[in-house]
């Protein structure tokens, strides 16, 4: 099972991730990623793995990881 982990010590709220995997992450009112599933690190369904990987690569602060 793959999860999408936000490293909060790096995240600066650029918001790219919420645009690239809107099924898993929304943006809060300050632009920080907000898990849509309510889980701390939302589970990534197989169909979304490619999008999640793209989000991980696109984060300007390298704050996202698949774990």
């Amino acid at each position: 099972m793959t999860r999408l982990h936000v490293d909060w010590t790096r995240c600066d709220g650029h918001g790219a991730c919420a645009e690239l995997v809107p099924e898993l992450l929304a943006g809060d009112e300050w632009g920080f990623p907000l898990s849509r599933t309510g889980e701390r690190d939302p589970e990534v369904p197989p169909a979304l793995e490619e999008h999640a990987e793209h989000a991980v690569r696109s984060c300007p602060l390298m704050a996202l990881r698949l774990v």
Partner: protein, 386 residues
Amino acid sequence: MTATPLTDTRRLLSAEPMGALPRLSPDSLLALAEDAGLTGRGGAGFPTAIKVRAVTQGRRAPVVVGNAMEGEPLSCKDAVLLTRVPHLVVDGLAIVAGALGAHEAVLAIGPEIDPTAATEAARTRGVEVARLEGGFVTGQESALVNQLDGRPAIPGDPLVRVTTRGVDGRPTLVLNAETLAQLGLIARHGVAWFREAGTPEDPGTSLFSISGAVEQAGVVEAPRGSRLGDVLASAGPVHPVAVLVGGFHGAWLPATALDTRLTSHDLKPYGAAVGAGVLHVLGHDLCPIRMAAGIAGYLADESAAQCGPCINGLPRMADALERLADRVPDPGLPAEIDRMRLLATGRGACAHPDGTARMVASTMRVFADHVSRHLAGHCEVEGGRR
């Protein structure tokens, strides 16, 4: 707050120094911690055996750190231990370090604690004493490791556990000062002795720091699972309205619940836990919303200021609570507090936002009637609208 021991017990606060230390193998240390059912006394209450096992699985010799940062302003039990029975903490640390073949044993002491006696006790036991800078979150494991390694004293991403990679990149076992003292006594007197106090599920004793509306604030040792009212009795509560159990990250128990046993099971309905044993009594002369707003504001200021939801959410939550305390006629305040609480929860590197949100949630729940009256412009302690 004064660090006055309220009672002496034959366990922690009146323990005599040991001669030669018992030498344990890693397995026998692990067995002692496991069979004793020892849990961490620093706040999180994590089973000690699981942490010990984790550092034995690394390839490099571990570092063992005694945590006496005591960043919680309402706690003073580690200060009492390190000034009254420093040898107990130091010996516990030396026994653990010896059993694990540790590369290094460090006792980390926060700025509120006089290190003189501990430094003297550490001299002959191969334990290094590190005096570190303070702050509410500096005792958090990864923040402590960061500070010991010369980095800023702020928490790291929890994906990398300090038991895997901590001080100097080595597996690192961080145990609270009281946990080490308890382990030292277990090594000396055995598991059966330890289990004579407490309950089968939650054995042993704990130190409790009692403050607030009491005749005498201080530290008391009591069996785990004691009733809240019994633990408070020696301090002499004065017109108690509620008790904040677990400190600034804790939760309230109303005075009607003083017969509640201090176990994780019995405290769960209140969202509370024994934590580091902080019991703060709220008297009838302080508005609970005002008190909670003050704590929330303090905690917002104590944020390590690295995680967005904590930086943004905690001040907003504290501000809304302050406005509620001031009886600002805004019926949207409870919803705003709730929203900030949910935005802060589970969205940070450490548990600081979660703990703050927990205390605020408990305030809104336990003092729901008080909240309603505030919204109507009245406070039974502070009077009419300001």
